[in-house]
């Protein structure tokens, strides 16, 4: 149970910042991207499938939840779950080509999917077209008022739950089947692993996690439009995984913090964020190929047993 103690600091983090809701909003965003990046991690690090179209699942989740909440006044929690479910279904459909194509071919197929979803959202009425959907409310529940603090704990709870699930399956049938598929499809198949099932499961769960993150994003930002879900977002999600530390929830969290935190820290100084961001990305990969997790020397929690 020791590994769960790592979450205690995160529970305490907001206390000093209660007076600065905007800092909490940043933590909320970090949390949201963490969830989406874990979705990417499951797909790439666990199952060995490459995707540069995960922004589309993020968009599917964000739009599903926003449309349900804004147009149909569905309670947030239900909209949240439906958005995950819907993304799951779409993810399984997108996973189908992965049964035939792999490597960079799969990368381009997923990229095509990402671009297409962006365009489809822009064309239809129900999604508000290119004008997007605005006034998406922040969820409130029972005695908890809509506030960044409350959002923070929602997001933290979800990450915690994902962490528990991932650490429990990592040395069990489901997790090891994915790892096996990643390392050798031929051997995995010879030992009874149904590649069809596990590839679709990987795409489905990746999409579901990303979709849930999208749903939270829509309510945190309050406005969504197709341009927010572009190729850059897909690549950023992949970069978060790699920069932070692939295969570890903590690593992915560090990656997300890097991606949200760096522009935030630099945005007021009139220096080019892209140059610094790009240079730091390159330097990290040149000197810390296993990601920032390497410097923090945080134990690789659930990979401990496996790799």
């Amino acid at each position: 149970m020791k590994k769960y103690l790592y979450f205690i600091p995160f529970v305490l983090v907001p206390l000093p910042f209660a007076g600065y809701p905007f800092l909490l909003s940043i933590f909320v965003l970090i949390g949201i991207y963490t969830i989406a990046a874990i979705g990417m991690d499951v797909l790439t690090t666990w199952a060995g499938q490459i995707s540069i179209g995960n922004a589309a699942f993020f968009a599917v989740g964000a739009y599903t939840s926003a449309i349900l909440v804004v147009n149909f006044h569905v309670p947030f929690l239900i909209a949240f779950l439906i958005s995950g479910l819907f993304a799951l279904i779409i993810g399984i459909v997108v996973g189908l080509p992965a049964l035939r194509v792999s490597g960079f071919y799969l990368a381009v197929v997923t990229m095509a999917f990402g671009i297409a979803v962006q365009q489809i959202i822009g064309v239809f009425q129900i999604t508000g077209g290119y004008n997007g959907i605005r006034n998406i409310p922040v969820p409130s529940f029972w005695i908890f008022k809509a506030s960044p603090l409350y959002q923070y704990y929602i997001v933290l709870t979800i990450i915690f739950l994902i962490f528990i699930v991932l650490s429990r399956i990592s040395f069990s049938k489901s997790g090891l089947a994915l790892f096996a598929m990643r390392d050798s499809e031929i051997a995995a198949r010879s030992f009874g692993i149904n590649l069809l099932k596990y590839k679709l499961a990987a795409f489905g769960s990746s999409a579901a996690l990303t979709g849930l993150a999208g749903s939270l994003y829509a309510s945190a930002i309050g406005f969504i439009s197709p341009s927010q879900f572009d190729l850059t977002l897909s690549l950023d999600l992949l970069a978060m995984v790699i920069v932070g530390g692939a295969g570890s929830v903590m690593g992915v969290m560090i990656g997300a913090a890097f991606f949200v935190g760096l522009p935030f820290l630099l945005s007021g100084y009139n220096i080019s964020i892209t140059i610094i961001q790009g240079a730091v990305l390159i330097l990290i990969l040149l000197f810390l190929p296993k990601g920032l997790l390497q410097i923090f020397k945080i134990k690789d929690l659930f990979k401990k047993k496996v790799t």
Binding site: T44, I50, I52, P97, R100, V101, S102, G103, F104, Y105, A107, V108, V109, M111, A112, F113, I115, A116, Q119, I120, G122, V123, I186, L231, L235, L238, A239, V241, I242, V243, S272, I273, T274, I275, Q277, G278, A279, V280, L281, I282, L285, L286, P289
Partner: protein, 293 residues
């Protein structure tokens, strides 16, 4: 109108093809999917702009300086950035080139400022006008030039790879680096050469298209995406494949735009491409690689 659209598609497609070609050369030998490719070319377009419009050199000299710069960028990126981390995962490699993209985009903006810049066409004469049963197709000389250059580059590359010793050595490295090394081939030199070729093709593509798109940091964005798609559609490792891939995409796009939908043109075009890949997972001219187990 079908015929007109197909001709127009070939013209657009030749642009995709040349970008795809450069990507494939670098991929074949070093296995890197270069997301900064178009942006490397963009820098060369700015170099041309600087030499020609700001310094006032003549066109041909500026052109060759820009191409030389492109090949230098290719060399430097492979040597300085990718070589030290050859064995990291493909996803990490993608992220390094993404970092490079961000840096190049920012640097261009810092150095050349926030204005769109212009560079002139190499050929500025009267466009070629074809008329047939009521339809018309106008091909500006610059586009004919692009078509010609693409063809010439392909022929040159194929001759180089098949006839010269160096080209054969490069193909050997592409097929199996270890064995090539054992045979005494300087594989590290071959990798550098592949990126030098790739870098100069990228610069060439940017210079050819810049008179149309103008010069600004994101000028190659669309071409780069379509170049990737073309490369994959063609079979990613096949040089003729990248050309066929590029031209097919140009034609598919135009036919979709004409007969299906304009506001979902990209979506339908990409759907068709994905469908082709599902039927032929190794691309149009790629070969299925059977791994020995």
């Amino acid at each position: 109108m079908v015929f007109q659209q197909i001709i127009a598609g070939i013209i657009t497609g030749s642009l995709y093809a040349i970008v795809a070609l450069g990507l494939v050369i670098a991929y074949k030998v070093t296995g890197v999917m270069n997301f900064a490719y178009g942006y490397m070319g963009m820098i060369s377009a700015y170099i041309f702009f600087t030499c020609f419009s700001m310094v006032g050199m003549n066109y041909i000299l500026s052109f060759f300086i820009a191409i030389a710069f492109g090949s230098f960028v290719g060399y430097a990126v492979e040597r300085g950035l990718l070589r030290p981390v050859r064995n990291i995962s493909p996803a990490s490699m993608v992220i390094i080139t993404l970092g490079l993209l961000l840096v190049l985009e920012g640097v261009a903006l810092q150095i050349w400022g926030n204005n769109y810049q212009q560079i002139p066409n190499l050929l500025n004469g009267l466009p070629l006008i074809l008329r047939f049963n009521g339809g018309i197709i106008v091909i500006p000389q610059q586009n004919l030039l692009i078509l010609g250059v693409v063809t010439a580059v392909i022929i040159a590359l194929i001759l180089y790879l098949n006839l010269t010793f160096q080209g054969k050595a490069m193909r050997a490295v592409a097929q199996n680096e270890e064995i090539a090394k054992l045979m005494g081939i300087n594989s590290s030199l071959m990798m550098s050469i592949s990126w030098i070729i790739s870098g100069s093709i990228g610069a060439l593509a940017a210079l050819l298209v810049a008179p149309q798109t103008f010069v600004y940091p994101d000028m190659m964005l669309n071409l780069q995406i379509m170049g990737f798609t073309a490369a994959v559609l063609g079979g990613f490792e096949s040089i003729p494949g990248s050309i066929i891939g590029g031209i097919s995409i140009g034609i598919i796009e135009n036919l979709v735009g004409t007969y299906i939908s304009t506001n979902l043109k990209t979506t339908f075009s990409l759907a068709i491409i994905v469908a082709i890949l599902i039927v032929k997972p190794e691309g149009l001219l790629g070969s299925a690689k059977a791994r020995r187990v």
